[in-house]
Structure formats: structure tokens, C-alpha cells
């Protein structure tokens, strides 16, 4: 019955989402930019939104409680357990910093006889390796993914095609990551598809062995597994760019490179930052693909944590987890320092 009121309201034409997916504004097309959102109707809507109503307490209580139990408590327990004493088959609540000493200390760390003054402990160097892989894959994902997002957002004109191709890029994100990692095995092996292709094309004479269980193959697989994560955010920030601005720049004589450097790139940076943060945190916690595609020849912090959990040395697993968290936070803060993403949210 309330629906009857809708047509009688003259002010709200265009304020309803124009089309497509809810996350996509109707304001990225010239001609539509003027309608709706910043018109008087939207201003009225904002005033209404501020009007007093029911208290949001009961709306947020269940989710808040859930997040407290299943997110904050586990993270807090990692911090607490990292100071517990390992008993060999479990842990006892006797505070100690031994776990931290073990983590950082290694023979020759401060040994003047040692060739290198600061040889990092094996755990620190694992953290370093994980970080290095994350960085490499992030850069590669950006190089591979940015042109794709650019193509979808600014080159494809028809909305239907844009949506269809974007979904095509997103589908792998909704399928199993493990299976996508397994799928690399028939590609990379000595008799794998890539080798056959290389031989057939005459690029190499006989199959090369550096593909499977190697840094090269692992990196390539990681890029394929994670690149879709940055295409989404970059696509959204590119799609928000007002085409009239680009048209105006073109009319004023800017060439394609100038338009990209002066307008498109700066406006897409928030999306780039979100995508990079996303990929970064996923890669730092990575462990399964290291086993599948790298044959377990590499340890990531994730595999170290799980190993110590299996050995029932929970405090030491907790220390590793905590250090991973700190490294991640530093990385995220650095990315946020470079790009201010608040504009995006």
C-alpha cells in the first residue's frame, strides 16, 4: 500500500539507482551526471536520513558480538599465547619471553667472528622471503591487471559488454583457489602444456625444467591466483571518472599520455591502493599454494605457523603469527601513506 506514494513524488526521478549492479553509480556517463544524486532530491534525502528514528543498537548488536567472538578474541589470544610457556604437548600460562628470544636469536647473530654481522634468524628470513614474494607478485599483478581494468572501464563502451566482461574476470574469484592452484600442475611440468608450446613454437629445443616447483612457476601461478583481486577495485575507481572531464582535456589539446598521467592515473590510485592491500594481505598469509605449486620447497610464514601448530608448540606458532601481523600492518600503513583511500570510501 505504501508503494502507491511513489509516483506522486516528483522530486525523486533519477535518485533511484540508475542501472546495473548496486555498487555502480549512474554518474559515470555524461548526460546522466547532472541528474539525481546531487540534485535537490538527494539533498532532501540526506536531510531525511539525519532525522531521528529507531536506535541502531539492536541492528548492530548481533554482528558486533559475532565479530568480537570470532575475530577479536582469536587475535587477542594470539597475543596472549605468544607469552605462554610451551610444555612440549601444549602450553602453560606461565609468562615468558623465551618464544620471542627464540624467534630473533640465532647463532652468530651478534657474533663478531661471523662473516655477516646481522644474520637474520631463520624465522625472520622466512618472513623476509614471504614479504619479497608478496612484493613481486603485487607489482606483477598491478602491471597485468591495470590495463585490463582500464580496458573494461574506459575502452569498452556498451554497458552490457562491460558488465559481461567484468563478470568474466571476477568468476575465478568465486571459485576454489585450491583447485586453481592444482590446475597449474599440468601446465608447468617437464611434459606440461607450456613446455610443449615452447618446443612446438621452436623457442626451446627440449623441454625446460625451470617451470614447475620453481620460483618462476610459483610467481606466475600466484599472479594468476590473485590478479583478479586488484582488477575489481581499479575498475570501480576508473569507472567513476567523469568522461566529460576526459573529453574536455582532449578538446584542450592533451594527448592520450597526458590525459592518462594527469587525470586517469591520479583518480585511479585509491582503487590501486585497495587492490594492492588486498593482494598483499592475502599473499602474506599464503601457505597452500606454496605446497602445491612449489612442491613445499619454500617456507612461508603460513607454513611455519601450521608446522609449529602441528608440533603442538602453540606459543611459538603465536609469535610467528604476531610477527606476520606486524609486518602486514607496516605494509598496509606504507600503502596508505602513499595513497589516501578515504576518498574512495
Amino acid at each position: 500500500m505504501a508503494n502507491h506514494a511513489i509516483p506522486q513524488h516528483p522530486g525523486l526521478v533519477g535518485a533511484v539507482p540508475a542501472r546495473g549492479f548496486p555498487w555502480r553509480g549512474g554518474d559515470d556517463r555524461p548526460g546522466e551526471a547532472a541528474s539525481g544524486r546531487d540534485g535537490p532530491a538527494a539533498a532532501g534525502a540526506r536531510a531525511v536520513r539525519r532525522a531521528p528514528g529507531g536506535h541502531p543498537g539492536w541492528l548492530i548488536a548481533p554482528a558486533t558480538l559475532w565479530l568480537f567472538v570470532f575475530l577479536l578474541v582469536p587475535l587477542a589470544s594470539i597475543l596472549v599465547f605468544s607469552f605462554f610457556t610451551s610444555t612440549g604437548f601444549g602450553m602453560a600460562p606461565e609468562p615468558t619471553i623465551k618464544n620471542y628470544v627464540d624467534y630473533f636469536e640465532v647463532e652468530g647473530f651478534f657474533d663478531p667472528e661471523a662473516r655477516k654481522f646481522l644474520t637474520p634468524s631463520v624465522f625472520l628470513s622466512t618472513l623476509g622471503t614471504t614479504f619479497r614474494f608478496a612484493l613481486t607478485v603485487m607489482v606483477l599483478c598491478l602491471l597485468v591487471g591495470y590495463p585490463i581494468a582500464y580496458f573494461l572501464a574506459l575502452q569498452v563502451q556498451a554497458f552490457k559488454w562491460q558488465l559481461a566482461l567484468f563478470l568474466l574476470c571476477m568468476v575465478p574469484f568465486w571459485t576454489s583457489y585450491l583447485i586453481r592452484a592444482v590446475a597449474w600442475l599440468p601446465m608447468l611440468g617437464r611434459r606440461g602444456l607450456l613446455n610443449r608450446a615452447l618446443v612446438e613454437l621452436g623457442i626451446v629445443e627440449k623441454p625446460v625444467s625451470f617451470l614447475l616447483y620453481s620460483e618462476f612457476g610459483y610467481t606466475m601461478a600466484l599472479v594468476q591466483l590473485y590478479v583478479v583481486l586488484c582488477i575489481g577495485p581499479i575498475f570501480f575507481s576508473l569507472a567513476k571518472i567523469d568522461r566529460q572531464v576526459l573529453e574536455a582535456a582532449r578538446d584542450m589539446g592533451a594527448n592520450a599520455f597526458q590525459i592518462f598521467r594527469e587525470i586517469i592515473l591520479p583518480l585511479s590510485l585509491p582503487g590501486v591502493a585497495i587492490g594492492m592491500i588486498f593482494i598483499f594481505v592475502m599473499l602474506m598469509g599464503e601457505f597452500a599454494s606454496a605446497v602445491v605449486v612449489y612442491g613445499g620447497k619454500i617456507s612461508t610464514v603460513g607454513t611455519v605457523i601450521l608446522n609449529y601448530y602441528t608440533f603442538a608448540n602453540y606459543p611459538f606458532a603465536a609469535v610467528n603469527a604476531l610477527m606476520l601481523m606486524i609486518a602486514m600492518m607496516i605494509g598496509v600503513v606504507i600503502i596508505l601513506r602513499v595513497v589516501d583511500i578515504r576518498k574512495q570510501l
Partner: protein
């Protein structure tokens, strides 16, 4: 006169750039889907064939092995558990996202802190949540279960996606529709049911899609928290630690096809509901 040829040169250049991007996009799609497609073909490997090309005949041998109960543990049970878990996660994600989306329409105390807590679910690696909760449970002596603890951390992971979808929905939502209904004397609940809900339903479906698919495929968060019984990703991981055989490819193909089916279903429901709200 001098403008015209320049324009056509410009148009030609644009077409060239566009087709360049098109070719790159096609290569990208091969890169993304190629390995999965190879796996799909290899699942029909002949009985004597191995885990890589060439194909030694075409057969359903590995698919049959997949269905036989003895090969990969309790596969059917794992699938059923994964689907049930995904459905529960879907409901919680859609419900919580909607409630939070409604709450965040008005400023309230602590909204910033809550926002960052929700987003933290996206940022914290699954292995950390698994470790933290699993050790805590060990310490206090509560056994983990796929329907309790795994459910808990799955929702932590899927909620940010659903929440962001609902935030986007409410950002573009016109509150004067509700105001009009209220002016006509409708109560808060009636306004929600008759005006708000139909308009945000596509968003709720999208939130549900994230809930279902991300939970169905989740591995890292489940790894220490599933308890006695495996979910499907855990079973897949377990079969990978053994010698890899084409059965795994059949399993991977089957699971991927199921995922695709669910995505298609969600998109269909989304389109139907979205058309109706227009």
C-alpha cells in the same frame, strides 16, 4: 579541410589502440582460464594416462573412481557439509549485512570503530584466525566443529563483502520514498517491509552470493577449525598430499562446475529481482 583527415587518423589510431587492448584481454582470459580448462580436459584422461598431456584415450575412468566411495575419503559427506555450511554462511552474511547497512545510514557512536572491525575481517589472513581460535579452543577444551567454529570465521570473512555491497546500495538509496510511506501513516516495520526491502533486495542477493561462494571455497580459515569432519576444500587439500592423479582433476572440475552453477543461479535470481524493482 585540414581537420577532416586528422580526425580520421585519430579514429584509426583509437581503433588500433582498442584492438590492441582487446587482444591483450583475450590473452589475459587464456591466462586466467587456461589452466582450469586444461584440468577439465585432463579429467577425461584415459585409464593409463597420467596427470599431464598427451591424452591416452578418452574415458570416464577417473570420474568413476571419484564416485566410488573408497578413493578420496568421505567425498559425498564433505560436499554435503560444505554446501550446508555455505548456505548457513549465506543467510548470516545477508542478514548481518542488511542490518549493518540499515544501521550505518545514520551516524552513531562507535560507527568508525565498527566499520574498521568489519573491514579487519577482510584484512586478517585466514591462517591467523584459524590459529588463534584453534589454540584458544584447545586451551579451554572445547572441540572445534565445522558448523560452529568454522561457521564463525567464515562469516567474519564474508561479512565485509556483503557489508560493502549494502553500503553501496544505501548510498544510492532515496530515503524520501520511506518518508512518503511514513507520511501516509505506515509504521516502521511496514515501511521496511513494503518500501525498503523490495528496493534493497538485489543488494541482499549480491551479499548472499559472496557469502555462499566464498564460504564454499574457503580453505585457510577452515583448516584448523573444521574439527572431526572435513569440508570439501579440506578433502581436496588432503588428496593433494597423496600422489596426484587425474581423480583430483575430476574432483576439481566437478567442484568448479558446481561453483559456476551457483554463480549463474545467483546472477539469474539477481537479474529477475532487479528487473522487478525497476
Amino acid at each position: 579541410m585540414s581537420v577532416k583527415p586528422r580526425k580520421s587518423a585519430e579514429a584509426r589510431r583509437r581503433t588500433l589502440v582498442k584492438s590492441g587492448f582487446g587482444i591483450y584481454f583475450a590473452i589475459f582470459l587464456i591466462f586466467i582460464y587456461g589452466p582450469m580448462f586444461a584440468m577439465f580436459i585432463l579429467s577425461f584422461q584415459g585409464k593409463r594416462g597420467g596427470t599431464s598431456f598427451p591424452m591416452r584415450g578418452v574415458s570416464l575412468y577417473w570420474w568413476e573412481k571419484l564416485i566410488q566411495p573408497s578413493t578420496v575419503g568421505d567425498l559425498k559427506g564433505a560436499l554435503v557439509r560444505s554446501v550446508i555450511l555455505a548456505l548457513i554462511v549465506m543467510v548470516f552474511t545477508a542478514l548481518f549485512s542488511t542490518m549493518l547497512g540499515m544501521a550505518f545510514r545514520r551516524p552513531f557512536r562507535g560507527s568508525g570503530a565498527l566499520f574498521y572491525t568489519i573491514m579487519a575481517g577482510l584484512m586478517v589472513p585466514g591462517v591467523l584466525l584459524s590459529l588463534g581460535l584453534a589454540t584458544l579452543l584447545k586451551q579451554v577444551g572445547i572441540p572445534p566443529n565445522w558448523w560452529s567454529t568454522a561457521l564463525g570465521v567464515h562469516v567474519v570473512w564474508t561479512l565485509p563483502f556483503g557489508f560493502l555491497v549494502m553500503m553501496a546500495v544505501f548510498n544510492r538509496f532515496d530515503a524520501s520514498l520511506e518518508e512518503a510511506a511514513r507520511d501516509m501513516g505506515a509504521g516502521e516495520w511496514t515501511v521496511f517491509r513494503e518500501v525498503t526491502l523490495p528496493l534493497i533486495l538485489p543488494g541482499i542477493v549480491a551479499a548472499g552470493l559472496f557469502g555462499f561462494t566464498l564460504s564454499y571455497d574457503e580453505f585457510a580459515r577452515t583448516t584448523l577449525l573444521a574439527g572431526e569432519f572435513n569440508t570439501l576444500p579440506l578433502d581436496i587439500n588432503a588428496s593433494m598430499t597423496q600422489r596426484i592423479r587425474p581423480t583430483l582433476f575430476a574432483l576439481g572440475t566437478a567442484s568448479t562446475l558446481f561453483s559456476l552453477l551457483m554463480i549463474g543461479l545467483f546472477l539469474l535470481v539477481y537479474t529477475i529481482i532487479y528487473r522487478r524493482t525497476q
